[in-house]
Symmetry: D2
Subunit: 368 residues, 4 copies
């Protein structure tokens, strides 16, 4: 399998922005493994309902991590269908039960559940970092709750405030984002296994008209995946969910943009300074300068996240009837890159808040 180097086009998210953990979630490798995880869970559930033998299932289970991307990519060129290509490779690895992988399913029965699993994992990473950050802000606020500094409105001196109180604005914004996240955690469900137009018709056929069994199939499957399913779907889970996820990411990015933009002003006023590494260079012309480049990077990436919900809005608003593919290509970009951008922002914010330097002298000067 070919690898990629800096002679190829590489996104900065591949090698610079975001954590290793977040990158792994959105790697193609992990996505394919997750597809196979769904197929395996489906096979297990269908075995329990009598559609597969134990032997067939076990073979499928055994091969669930046996990716052969080279073969799969070659097939995809012919079929023009990535999931079908992967399916054929997987099936070819399972001489006994291969033909029963994907039994009754449509592509999005696999894709959508796999993506919701990835998004949930990514949200968990974000939550961990957010909670860590909240703690750092609390610590900072405790430390500086009585440090009086000048308050500014319209960038003009207004009335005194304490540094801790100012930082509690950021804390409260972040806390509001956490509340939104908790709301989303509860409401983000998955497609389940409802077939081509959401009616589960193909599964009802498999069970010879037994609706009950079809319901049991879905219930067992989503329990196996530790998810909940929407009661109703078309071919895909409602794309409104993507819009909500991106709105949440944009909201959290907004909170940290406000923090970082404020910090840049405070650093300009000489009151605060973001951490500066030992050998760090200010600029190639003026190496002595202390530029707030971490805070600036937060603002820059936040502005990128800001626009992505607009793409998701149209994906949901324009998915005609049971589904069109307006969403497919751009979702591959916007969902992963929004998570990766925010991940980087959270890393930077933590770096700043945990090590920001206070310049008491200038704070007093500006108060006078």
């Amino acid at each position: 399998m070919e690898g990629f180097s800096y002679k190829d086009y590489l996104s900065y998210f591949t090698f610079r922005y975001g954590s290793k953990e977040m990158r792994e979630i959105f790697s193609l490798y992990n996505l394919r493994i997750t597809w196979r995880k769904i197929w395996t869970a489906l096979a297990k559930t269908q075995m329990e309902l009598g559609l597969l033998s134990k032997v067939e299932y076990e073979e499928i289970e055994k091969n669930k991590a046996n990716l052969n991307l080279e073969k799969s990519f070659a097939l995809e060129k012919e079929l023009q269908h990535d999931l079908m290509a992967e399916l054929k490779v997987y099936a070819s690895q399972c001489p006994k039960g291969g033909g029963k992988i994907h039994l009754g399913a449509t592509s999005t029965d696999i894709l959508d559940n796999a993506e919701i699993l990835c998004f949930k994992k990514a949200l968990d990473l974000i939550k961990d970092k957010l909670i860590l950050l909240l703690k750092e802000f609390i610590k900072f606020i405790e430390n500086y709750k009585d440090l009086v500094c000048m308050g500014f409105t319209h960038l003009q001196s207004a009335e005194p405030i304490t540094l801790g109180y100012r930082f509690s604005f950021y804390l409260q914004d972040l806390y509001l984002d956490l509340l939104m996240m908790k709301f989303l955690e509860k409401e983000i469900k998955t497609k389940g296994i409802k077939g081509a137009v959401g009616t589960s018709a193909s599964f009802v056929n498999l069970f010879e008209g037994d609706f009950k069994k079809t319901e049991i199939l879905e219930k067992k499957l989503i329990r196996e995946l530790n998810l909940e399913a929407f009661l109703i779907t078309a071919q895909t889970y409602p794309r409104k969910i993507d819009f909500w996820i991106l709105n949440f990411l944009a909201s959290l990015a907004q909170s940290l943009h406000k923090f970082a933009a404020d910090l840049r002003i405070m650093q300009s006023f000489g009151e605060l300074q973001e951490p500066f590494l030992k050998y760090q260079v200010g600029s190639s012309a003026m190496p002595f300068k202390k530029n707030p480049i971490l805070a600036e990077r937060i603002c820059s990436l936040a502005e990128y996240i800001k626009v992505l919900p607009q793409v998701a809005w149209n994906n949901a608003a324009d998915t005609l009837l049971e589904r069109t593919l307006d969403d497919s290509a751009n979702r591959r970009i916007i969902m992963s890159e929004a998570f990766l951008s925010l991940d980087e922002i959270l890393i930077l914010a933590e770096k700043i808040i945990s090590k920001v330097k206070i310049n008491q002298f200038n704070i007093n000067k500006n108060l006078a």
Copy 2:
């Protein structure tokens, strides 16, 4: 006081889009009345805490609806400050207690609470219409739950579905929006009364250092206004709230865009038809045509709402330190127009769903 005619620039929201009720909420008259409502409530609360006499308060209370916009606008030209102008007019109407209106307050102590009151009222109007719409969709779904029609993916015939099931996609989207609304209802709080930089310093001064009384003042005031206050604010309530409100409105607009876009396709396939008035004209060149103009108007206005959260994002992200005025001018446009656009969309959606016509013949033809 001057009036305006069609020779002036008039927004289509003034005379065409949105309900009378929604327009009233966002009328300048209502906004000023609401300012005076906050001032009156503040005076009442301050009276109870000994800062005003009963006589002073009663005079303020008596004049709370005594607007004189002509005078207020004239003053505003000099002062370049709308709230100060209104305050001076109000004060001039209260010879005894006029000097104590706005006691210890900063402009946003009045403005922000007034706006949150208006937004809550506007959200209530939206909720009423949304619930009505949910009921209409439920009725429709009940009626057509067994009406089999062709399901389409990629705008190509896929598998049969029922019309009722298809409409349950829209219902579920709307229900998700209702859940989001309930979350927001709980989390949208107001500024309370915290002064120029959020520290309540001016009120603490009024009470000669008594923090307890300052807290009681805010608690009494927001109870009087039937609101809850954020624990922490800078000069304004967190502008993230505007972003959230607009995201909600955009999400609901998205659900109805999907519905309307689908309906236009179904009408193109000859299966459904939105209501058409007795003397309605299709087009000036082809009067016979049945164009889905209500559904198209939904899509058009929804696209407008879509972009407005982006403005609010920057308002919150760029409000430097205790506040800058990046937000002021554009909030006067985006908040009212987003509500008015959605209000119109809800009216149109209700018209369609309650009177849409089914063409069984074409439905069967497309199934064959």
Copy 3:
């Protein structure tokens, strides 16, 4: 005819933002007058080609400003079609030739040409203000080309610069916008008169198959209107033109946002100060403060304009086949409000640049 007061919903563009001239262009009255102007020009051209008698044309010409909005609005309620309603009222005022108004035309043959006329007029207003502004910047730069002040990168002191050189950044940005405007002036054409799907079929019919005469009709008409027509159109002129116009307005707004944001920073550093009226009040709590509220208003309105091209993008991208009405309702908002917002921004920028105060003492202090 009813008038509107502050008890109705009134946009801030009705009474506060933008010039009287710009408001008039986008008044409903002017739009209707412009429709009648197109109808009159069409009648004149058709008379010259033998389709109307002189008497019929003269009656139409005589009534071209004889609006009766009350009647027109009443009819519109029945017909659900604003142009048809206006046409019927106009026709009823012309007992001889009324039936020949709109001969062979489709609605957009009137609407689109009318709108392009309005946009061109609005662009001319913008150009006049832009050129005035360029002159003011040139004057300022001349005056301060040698005034040394500190240059800032990352909001940190970098190297000295002159105030005049800094302001030449803004001048060059504005000049680039002027170049773009000149490009647009050349490329913005109109629909001409091509009927329901752009084939001119109805006019060819009127001329009994004579294509030549149809071409002459369009040529004469657009010369009469002092416009040029696109060679090809569907039912409407290409909506890409709206996108380009809004991109231009957003680009000019961007230039002035940069200027205004910089000014707010310079005012915060005490180096510059925007004009402050004699009785102007800083804030209700701190009347002494000098807040850069004009510059802040520029930034605020610029942020609003920024998002509007996104709406126009989808109008052009989603106009299915010969035309759908995705664009109609939102164009009534975005086009006028973008022009009005920019008009206000230009007024504000001129106020600032012509009267900004320099604080030499602080400039020197910051250099040291």
Copy 4:
């Protein structure tokens, strides 16, 4: 040097969307090579003006492609500055003249000129593809200029049109984009070599106050690079240029979204069909289906490009004073990905237009 595999996060632009040529332009390797190209050109020009010896220059020239990314990346971690790291590696490879690389320059003297070179190259690729596409459309229109089909307004049958005339809408849109491109080609200039705040102070110093020589330096350099320079810049070239480039890319994406969305409707009506490969699979549940997946991918990627100008708008509007770094991180994403998305769209459009199938039977049926 490490490589990357599918276990890493890889953007779809790395391995799926866009051409090899476009990916190479935006590879990190090419970017670094281009930096060295600017450094070499600067050294050559400075040699000609007496600041470097021939020997020093030749050593620099000899090493211009001698990248050592591993070393450069290691250094970057310490310095927190990518260009400085590359500079130090380059200098270490040139024992004689290494210390004179970057003489008098600030980072953006290298970065900005390098990026403009890349953007111009990328625009050239786009232009080649656009012109090819225009030719294909002309061919198609010639072929089908007399093929009568039904014209649709509001997705309802209106009047007949010819297929060729309909496709001329798309052609004209694309031609308008070409006009815009030609305007941009003329107006896109580069930073030149103006130092930290745009005053060229460091170069004037190198030439001991000789302004003339500083001007000659810039003129020689940009001629060497085959570019033109803006008369005035701050630390960077005006970021408005990015906004304009992205607006152009979004405009071209819009034209092809309209084409692709129309094609999806025509394919739904059975009149046209995009090419379908021999072994292509419709869907995993319904392999027989002919889905317009190429057209859908165009629409999907076009929606992504649509939002990117919004990011560039703020980069230009918020670059405070001589420069802040609001732009840096997000430009690394938006510029390359906009070009790559459009590149893919153009490839897809060419595939469709050159091989689209016409179904005369259905066209006639829909006319009847």
